[in-house]
Point group: C2
Chain length 310, copies 2
Amino acid sequence: MIDELCAKIRQLKAPVVAGLDPMLSYVPDYIIKQSLDEFGETLEGAADAIWQFNREIVDHIYDLIPAVKPQVAMYEQFGVPGMEAYQRTVDYCHEKGLIVIGDVKRGDIGSTSAAYAAGHLGKVQVGSRKLAAFNEDFITVNPYLGTDGIKPFVDVCREEKKGLFILVKTSNPSSGEFQDRLIDGRPLYEWVGEKVAQWGEEVMGCSYSYVGAVVGATYPEMGKVLRRLMPKSFILVPGYGAQGGKAEDLVHYFNEDGLGAIVNSSRGIIAAYKKEPYASRFGPEQFGEASRQAVIDMIEDINGALQARG
Amino acid sequence: MIDELCAKIRQLKAPVVAGLDPMLSYVPDYIIKQSLDEFGETLEGAADAIWQFNREIVDHIYDLIPAVKPQVAMYEQFGVPGMEAYQRTVDYCHEKGLIVIGDVKRGDIGSTSAAYAAGHLGKVQVGSRKLAAFNEDFITVNPYLGTDGIKPFVDVCREEKKGLFILVKTSNPSSGEFQDRLIDGRPLYEWVGEKVAQWGEEVMGCSYSYVGAVVGATYPEMGKVLRRLMPKSFILVPGYGAQGGKAEDLVHYFNEDGLGAIVNSSRGIIAAYKKEPYASRFGPEQFGEASRQAVIDMIEDINGALQARG
């Protein structure tokens, strides 16, 4: 799947992923009204609203970008109906030819990680059949439990040719509290980054490993170091736009081949219609068009910065 | 909820939680056959089998223990139908008067943690209504992202009088890879433990904080240190039994008041019928009775060790 991701990024000239993190507050009122009229003020109603919202956004952007990254928490908060909306979103994005990065940040002891890996990336055995459940192409994983919590995910990736992005340095303000603490003179995130590179060695695609890393756009100097430490790991970069990351800071997350990183924007794309410069051009009824324009602008912004680097 | 947990532990004399982590391989063949006959070899069939299995176990043990800890991965691996089985299990345990610790190990940047917190412990706003989704009483949380990834969970706990167990030192063999690394001369897990104590200060129950910690039974020396570092944090202790933790090692996880820790066993209880000394007394049809006996024996084992400590 990492090879497909590389190929699609090259083909579309778009190292960009759209974060499908639909807070209800992003969904235009007329969609919420339709869904609640049909399902009542219920979890089903909320889940339907975010699914309708997602579908229209996907319809407007699927031809521009290689991948989407649904944040499962935004679905899980609506319980089982929310998880149905998550599954529909994953399946619909697949129908539209998009690669799906499930932002699930799972991670546990070995036998439990094996269950997460089967349910999200692999297959579960039920009687004589092997069945896929959520079936994302990549997922994000938390490294706090160490190698035996990660290995079951890597094993499933090898089998299914799927991929991981392991949290190394996250984009949030307090990520440094533990991640930046020095161990033998080097911050924890570097030690995690080295492990990511090691875990990835045995599952290589053409140029990049199946095992990638999450490094926030908000810490560009650390991104530069981590790029060198994990030369074969694709970096998923959250934090562009709404969280403060700028395109010119992100060029160091890429390798010389122009690959090696994919930049995520969530709010900046899916809630574009609520903010300038899009709000005055696109009303709530054109939220899909606003998202499309935001994606076009983001691709141009990042490609511009990459070209300026030369 | 922490006060309810303390009260129930005292009343039942049972600082024990049963881990409802139903792998399909634990479920007796005749239950799997019934479910697959009804639903086919589908995710629905698998989910029904684990739900039927859970229900019979809960029926046999609910009067002995204060709490259960379903591991969501074992449900999530069966996709949306699995999450339905999880929800049914949570709701059924509540009906039986059990406290439910959702072992979900979530954790993300602030806005995303807020969504997880709402969906698992709190309520989501849908139109004019506030609705609970999964509605566990406690959940486990991963600390890798630091304070701003934890605070939204603490806020919801304050509001709903619910609780957390934050991963400090996990029970798995490679937990030391990052958790034991020295930072200014002290292992990372101690720094995390200190933060857990701090995060918990502002949400105190009668004797213990709403914010507890996970410390594996397999590292008793570290448990001793962490008990002192986090005097007001309840410790959830996985790793007893099947993973190798012994009762005499666990006394140091308790405070002088006989409280402060709750010990989990999963396989050792729910798959008791498959292993000696239970296998020869209880056939697969008596798996519920075997679980009950295993719970009785575990309570006796732990209380015996606590009494021996004096």
